[in-house]
Symmetry: C2
């Protein structure tokens, strides 16, 4: 007899995990909806022609491919075998599992462009699959949770992303976190003013290590990457800036004074903060990180990254503005801005901080228990009325010893049991026992509804 | 430039479809939870060893298989090529997409049997995939929505299935439907008393056609299937029974008087109805269908099927009791009872009947609009307060003509727009316009919250 197992890097979610995941997801969904985003879903499978070439060579390797149905080898010849897997792929597989939610969203926008009203605000919460090496905290199936607005350049969207992130964290009870913001144009400007235009990529990779390896080592790395020594020296004021948050915009204006695009980036950030202020909102949790880059190649404007402080997991959310979401499918000019919550990471953070509210895993509120057939009949007669009053109630289905019934309640985290004995039947009441405290009181249906409703 | 398309038999769900699907799913989830069921999720991929051999030869054909990562052809030889796809499958694929939710659930129970408390009540709402020929109403990716209790024989579970189905239909607004119930033991009993023990399978397939082809043709078919003529004649009282619903149990007791198992089936149904009565519930919508079979091989006790009357789609839900969910994985004695809602079919039924409530697709309640930069600033100042009051509000993000802003609201089904003009700024009010009626009134923030909250 086979012993069943799970594929590597995949997980089951049992009742408690699911309840906690739903607590996170419901919080995020409510927030997206409050800000006028609508949910869409796309299929798990996409044509490989939609997916390949969008995530780089490594991404193509990590795509899960689906074997064609029926006689999948019929087009494969002995010669193909010799040419190897990559050359033969198109003959055995036409479909793959989605790798992220962005490419399917771009496809959706292109295919539905005539029906959609722009600006189009959508959110999407679905699993994605990557044939990555499984390791702690990295799975082959995991949920992404994206919100994007496409078809507008308005910086109101950037400001609202900050507000949505803050609302989600507030409702999840995560207090110590930082929303790092930057702008691609600032990065472009920095590389311009130091005389290394176009090299913001390697620049940011190196500077990102500042905290870990120090300025000496970062300079060495930059020179190894082909930066001129005097360019590197021009970074000194940036690296040594210690004027605090409030002065950063002024510092950048001066540092980037010779770069038109750099100043534009500063202006966009300034305007985003101004919109927040017009909305009566401050800059709590917001930190301007002048070298934040995050998958730089995608972004053309704002860049976001959210870090929870003092936990082992780092970034739990990120995003930014892009100029051309759908260009790869032949539709130009669809710009947008979006961000993504890492649900699995938020889960791990909340677990590490032990802040899942007890109510978030509350299932059944009340288990009706009984000693004998008469009590069972009485319990049945109450059950439908309790549920009609909105109380999540169960009856222990088998006639069993009271201890077994109480065990069931306690193992399932049911907070209350209602005991139906002869006295209760006579009085038309129920003996309500709170398992945690052992407190017991006699209540009629109306009182019970008031207490648990 | 490639023109993107969707894989055959798969679908995108846009905002309106998703809102309607969520209306159905939320109704079902609320009901499951009210009855004490907890949600679980299992991975999209299962090991092929878990999936194959569970759905018959046809099912094995219809499994979507996932190509092994990396050099998937490395174990395939020229000889394998000659032996064909089926013989080579294990060398190129180890995983498949789930085909239903029952086999993954059985695997879950086996793998977690030491942590679970029985009876275990779970529900599961996830997509499944079948490489079926796509056609109207049949998709390659579709959602299933299952609830099961395992680890108890109590008929309370059967009674509660009927109650859950009725609650879901009531909340969806579907009024004309029938919950057909039967019991496998009754079918076994019928084949016994007519002298064709063990042949309930072909018996039911043939009798199921009674309405379509009439008793003459059914008799012919039964004889073709090897039933003795005098066995077939013994079915006459069953086929010609016209005593109405109330008399069916008495009729069956008499018809099955010589079959112990048959009488047991009648007793189980009787007890299920008795439990409903003890719960203060009637038999509304319930019909005893003495030959209902539905995938007979799985079921050992109660059998359910729900049909919506007077629509082109037939069955939208079904289920039953089974003796041995997990036996195939080596864990004996886990009996249970469960049922499944066909979400796609419920969607189609509600669309055909035009009964989706308008509120079910309600997204944004209020769009703030403005004429100029001053109005835009004023609108921004209101926006966060409106949302803090729980009102789903948006601002049109770009400074655009009023007509464009109103168009956006109307195309997105936003019922109210709030106009922020000079007068409103001076009065600290908003001109609230209801798009459907054209009615307009001047309200302050408090009045607005009261009206839309």
């Amino acid at each position: 007899m086979q012993k069943p197992s799970l594929p590597k890097g995949t997980r089951d979610f049992g009742p408690i995990q699911m309840a906690r995941r739903n607590f996170i997801l419901d919080t995020i969904k409510d927030t997206f909806r409050l800000f006028g985003y609508n949910q869409i879903e796309t299929p798990a499978m996409e044509n490989l022609s939609t997916l390949t070439g969008k995530y780089g060579d490594e991404g193509d390797q990590l795509l899960f491919k689906i074997l064609n149905s029926g006689d999948y080898l019929k087009k494969v010849s002995a010669e193909d075998l010799e040419n190897g897997s990559a050359a033969t792929l198109t003959k055995v597989s036409e479909k793959g599992l989605r790798y992220d939610l962005t490419v399917p969203f771009a496809r959706f926008v292109v295919m539905n462009r005539n029906e959609l009203t722009f600006p189009f605000k959508r959110f999407q919460i679905q699993p994605v699959w990557r044939a990555d090496r499984p390791q702690k905290g990295r799975y082959r199936e995991f949920y992404q949770c994206d919100a994007d607005v496409v078809g507008t350049d308005s910086l109101v969207c950037e400001a609202e992303i900050i507000l949505m992130i803050r609302r989600v964290f507030k409702h999840l009870g995560i207090e110590d976190y930082t929303i790092k913001v930057n702008n691609r144009k600032i990065l472009t400007g920095i590389s311009e003013v130091i005389g290394e235009a176009g090299k913001e990529g390697p620049l940011c990779v190196a500077i990102d290590k500042l905290d870990k390896i120090g300025w000496e080592k970062v300079q060495e790395e930059l020179e190894q990457r082909g930066f001129q020594n005097d360019s590197v020296q021009k970074l000194n004021p940036l690296v040594q800036y210690n004027g605090g948050e409030a002065g950063k915009l002024e510092f950048l204006k001066s540092f980037l004074s010779s770069s038109e695009v750099g100043l534009e980036g500063v202006k966009e950030l300034e305007e985003t903060f101004e919109i927040l202020s017009q909305m009566g909102e401050g800059l709590d949790h917001v930190e301007l990180d002048m070298v934040l880059a995050r998958g730089l190649s995608y972004y053309t404007g704002a860049i976001f990254e959210v870090k929870v402080n003092n936990v082992s997991i780092g970034s739990v959310s990120g995003g930014g503005r892009y100029d051309n979401l759908t260009g790869v499918f032949g539709l130009q000019g669809v710009s947008g801005v979006g961000f993504s919550f890492g649900v699995d990471r938020l889960y791990d953070v909340m677990e590490e901080l032990s802040i899942f509210p007890k109510e978030s895993v509350q299932g059944t509120q009340l288990l009706l228990t009984y000693f004998d057939h008469k009590g069972y009949g009485y319990a049945l007669s109450l059950l439908s009325q309790l549920r009609a009053n909105g109380i999540i109630a169960e009856i222990y289905p088998d006639q069993a010893k009271m201890k077994k019934q109480l065990d069931y309640a306690s193992k399932n985290g049911v907070p209350f049991v209602g005991i139906c004995g002869d006295q209760e039947i006579a009085d038309k009441t129920i003996a309500l026992k709170e398992l945690e405290t052992g407190n017991q009181e006699s209540l009629n249906l109306e009182e019970l509804t008031k207490k648990l409703g």
